[in-house]
């Protein structure tokens, strides 16, 4: 129908529905655009900027930018690669990411992105910031050392769980995730089964007593890069 439009991504012409984001349209065509804050089922947020593409030469976040007829999108040029790689590195140095003892290691989307980008180590200096941990809740803890401020928990709690457990407070480098209580996580209505818990891409929100259950070698990203499922789905 006439609500179909077409555009070019990395020399390939693909069809899309009007109103679709570039990221979603590419995904339907089997093209993976790396992303972190974006998650199917949640409203687009556009904060991590890992999904940056060039649209007619101009950088845009593909998770919020809608498709338009005839646009030319670069998803795998050197420039795009370098921008994304540097953003991933920023997220590593901004927090304290100790993969060697993190429950999420092997299933962590930030780590998986770094693997996919072939990052041996961030080229930016580590900041070693002081962050806190909230382990007050009987079944869930928050480790802000690992938080990448993607806001998935904020959105999931509101949009999927019908609660308001999380929200951003502070601004600039002091921006952080806060909980809907004057005290701690245990004073909120969060339950272990909440979608907001499992939706965390990193190890910042973790269910207690289930860490390290999956052995090394069987974890999500042990053998294949993140996004492989999308790339395989259409070939």
């Amino acid at each position: 129908m006439n609500d179909k439009i077409s555009f070019i991504i990395d020399d390939r012409e693909i069809k899309a529905k009007k109103g679709q984001t570039i990221l979603a349209a590419a995904q339907e065509a089997g093209i993976y655009i790396p992303r972190l804050c974006s998650k199917e089922g949640l409203s687009p947020f556009g904060s991590c900027r890992v999904c940056t593409v060039l649209v007619n030469g101009r950088a845009q976040a593909s998770c919020t930018q809608p498709v338009a007829q005839g646009i030319v999108v670069e998803n795998s040029s050197e420039k795009v690669f370098q921008i994304r790689k540097q953003i991933i590195e920023m997220l590593f140095i901004e927090g304290n990411h100790f993969c060697m003892f993190c429950e999420k290691s092997g299933n962590c989307e930030l780590q998986a992105l770094a693997y996919r980008f072939g990052i041996l180590a961030p080229s930016l200096p580590f900041m070693f910031p002081e962050k806190d941990i909230d382990a007050s809740h009987p079944d869930v803890f928050i480790d802000r050392n690992r938080c990448v401020l993607c806001g998935r928990c904020v959105r999931a709690s509101r949009e999927l769980d019908g609660k308001h457990v999380f929200q951003f407070v502070g601004r600039g480098p002091e921006r952080r995730i806060a909980v809907n209580a004057s005290a701690d996580l245990k004073n909120t209505e969060l339950e272990s089964s909440d979608k907001a818990v499992e939706i965390c891409p990193v190890g910042a929100i973790i269910r207690k007593r289930v860490g390290f259950k999956i052995p090394v070698g069987k974890r999500l990203y042990d053998h294949e890069p993140i996004g492989s499922d999308i790339e395989k789905a259409c070939t």
């Binding site: 687009p44 947020f45 556009g46 904060s47 991590c48 900027r49 890992v50 940056t52 950088a59 976040a61 919020t64 930018q65 809608p66 370098q82 921008i83 540097q86 953003i87 920023m90 997220l91 140095i93 901004e94 930016l124 200096p125 900041m127 990448v148 401020l149 308001h164 457990v165 999380f166 929200q167 951003f168 407070v169 502070g170 601004r171 600039g172 480098p173 002091e174 921006r175 806060a178 909980v179 809907n180 209580a181 004057s182």
Partner: protein, 607 residues
């Protein structure tokens, strides 16, 4: 006390109709009343407005005029922007510290006075300056600082600090401030309004159809005066054409760009005309409501502006059937900000108007499609509304003839820094930097920062370039640096400013600017290497490309423009280091704690 607070907070919320849209107003009042917005107050507000407490906390922790920790009854906010630093900030700061016996960020033991720093408060032409609660004190000296503390201690009343009133409406009954206008050059478009008869333009507009008004503005080739230069007529057209039960016209009076203060003067001298311009715009786009978003730093103008609105209402220039025009109902309200540069970004401004933290919104949808509360909204700069009046007064053709190709009309410039006559200058677009420097008395300028912190720094070889949208674009800020200044220190200040003012929403701006500044400081401290310059360039370009809003898309400009225009300054500071320890690694500093704890000196690194 607790009970008393409970009823006060509840009353404040009730005054605002327990409507969460007015959260920012409520928070400001609670802050003023109790010196903070405490956890208890947050709970009470959340309950009254029926919103999650974490959302209230989110807003409280965003704005620098709001705080969860208790502040003194009086808060002295000393402006520490670069111009104030060049005009003796350090000495004044020292005098305040000594006289109060506290450091910045602290409150006197009796809980009476807090001392804080604040970025540009729009007084660069009379720096150093400070805000004392709402009052503005200017041209500060060490003596004056000590005197201010004495008066505050004696009277507890910041109003007593105003001893001599400023010129023009600064002396108005409802303003009574010591601020000076410093209008040095009145031009044909904006300041000529002072002589023209009010409401003729509005009358003309109402005699036309809204589309005709828009066409007139389009014919005049008017572009937005905030700096980005989007064609005003198109913006109006888009908003008019957008679907929506209601539409909003918003005046962006949140000038926070360091070195800009022209809106301060326009709001002081031409408020009635600005509201007239907003009314015309409202008519053109089909809005019934206008909002003026006034930066918190200009609170001293609030009552005066409100009175101006009230008078317009009485005169039938606002309200039902404006000027007798059937079915044109329009009114304006003022939304005060609370100290956040980012709220000058139009989608952040909308967030703030809605009572939220000032995070910018994703675009699309653009405000013209979905803005304030989801309704089509048009945001224009204060000066843009003034230009509209002259266009209707004197004709689109007359206006389009003024200025340079692609940039019709005049621009009101805020000139500050190392020059003889800092102040307000209105020129037709197309004036060269050289001519400007001559007029303001700064022919020996080493560098000129055009467009504020987010603009660019140029040197002598570029002084023949012109001010216009297609060459040197500026929202009005012109900061001048004489030969005695250290360029890298200026750049470092701007980076500090951006880090402070970033909302932190997106990664490149939140993290990237901190990294940029760390590398810059490495270079300033003489520990930089040639490869660091290349690194700064690439990182800066990536931040510009990948950031979500205008703040991050321009924050690397101070570094990128000086790398380009003042490269030798950087080159002289870096050298290659291959052997030995990294220049940034200081073994003596790294061992200091250990030596103190163990009570012995290092045997490996003897010093």
């Amino acid at each position: 006390m607790k009970k008393e607070m409970e009823s006060t907070v509840k009353n404040i919320c009730r005054d605002s109709g327990n409507d969460k849209i007015h959260l920012l107003d409520i928070l400001r009042r609670v802050q003023n009343q109790f010196g903070c917005v405490s956890d208890e107050a947050i709970d009470l507000i959340a309950k009254s407005l029926n919103i999650p407490r974490v959302d209230v906390e989110s807003t409280v922790t965003f704005y620098s005029f709001l705080s969860k920790e208790p502040k003194g009854q009086i808060v002295i906010r000393l402006c520490n922007d670069i111009i104030d630093r060049m005009n003796g900030y350090d000495k004044v700061a020292k005098a305040f510290r000594e006289e109060l016996g506290i450091d910045f960020g602290e409150t006197t033991k009796d809980g009476k006075i807090s001392l804080e720093n604040t970025p540009c408060i729009g007084m660069c032409d009379q720096a150093p300056a400070a805000l004392v609660n709402g009052e503005v004190v200017t041209y500060l000296s060490t003596d004056r600082a000590r005197e201010i503390v004495k008066i505050l201690r004696l009277t507890g009343n910041p109003k007593k600090l105003v001893q001599r009133l400023g010129d023009g409406n600064n002396a108005h009954e409802l303003v009574k401030s010591m601020v000076q206008n410093n209008i040095r050059r009145a031009g044909e478009v904006v300041f000529s309004l002072a002589e023209s008869q009010p409401n003729i333009a509005l009358e003309k507009a109402l005699a036309m159809s809204p589309v005709e008004v828009i066409n007139e503005v389009k014919t005049a080739r008017l572009r937005g005066r905030g700096g980005a230069g989007f064609p005003t007529g198109m913006k109006w057209e888009f908003t008019r054409a957008a679907n929506g039960d209601k539409k909003y016209i918003i005046c962006n009076a949140d000038e926070g760009e360091p070195g800009t203060f022209k809106d301060r003067v326009l709001l002081t001298e031409l408020p009635d005309r600005i509201f007239e311009g907003m009314t015309i715009a409202g008519y053109a786009i089909g809005a019934e409501e206008g909002i003026m978003y006034l930066r918190g730093e200009y609170e001293y103008l609030y009552n005066f502006l409100e009175a101006t609105l009230e008078k317009r209402r009485k005169d039938g220039l606002l309200g039902k059937n404006v000027m007798g025009k059937k079915e044109f109902n329009f009114d304006i309200r003022i939304q005060l900000g609370a100290g956040a540069y980012i709220c000058g970004e139009e989608t952040a401004l909308i967030s703030s108007c809605e009572g939220f933290r000032g995070d910018p919104k994703n675009r699309p949808p653009f405000p013209a499609q979905r803005g304030f509360l989801g309704y089509p909204s048009c945001i224009n700069n204060v000066e843009t509304f003034c230009a509209v009046l002259s266009i209707l007064d004197k004709g689109a053709g007359w206006f389009a003839e003024l200025g340079s190709r692609g940039s019709a009309g005049t621009k009101v410039l805020s000139v500050s820094g190392d020059c003889q006559s800092p102040g307000i200058y209105e020129y037709p677009f197309g004036i060269t930097i050289k001519k400007l420097l001559k007029d303001v008395g700064a022919e020996d300028a080493m560098a000129v920062q055009v467009g504020g912190a987010s603009g660019q720094m140029i040197g002598e070889k570029d002084y023949d370039r012109i001010i216009c949208f297609d060459d040197l674009a500026t929202g009005g800020s012109i900061m001048i640096f004489g030969p005695q200044r250290n360029i890298l220190e200026v750049v470092d200040y701007f980076m500090e400013f951006f880090i402070e003012e970033s909302c932190g929403y997106c990664t490149p701006c939140r993290v990237g600017n901190v990294v940029l500044r760390n590398y810059l400081q490495k270079i300033i401290s003489g520990k930089g290497e040639p490869s660091d310059l290349d690194f700064l360039q690439k990182l800066g370009e990536n931040i510009k490309a990948a950031s979500r809003c205008g703040l991050g898309q321009t924050s690397p400009n101070p570094i990128l423009s000086t790398l380009k225009n003042f490269h030798p300054v950087y080159a002289a500071m870096v050298r290659e280091e291959t052997e030995g320890l990294q220049p940034t690694f200081d073994i003596q500093a790294a061992l200091r704690d250990s030596e103190a704890i163990t009570g012995r000196k290092s045997v490996l690194f003897i010093h």
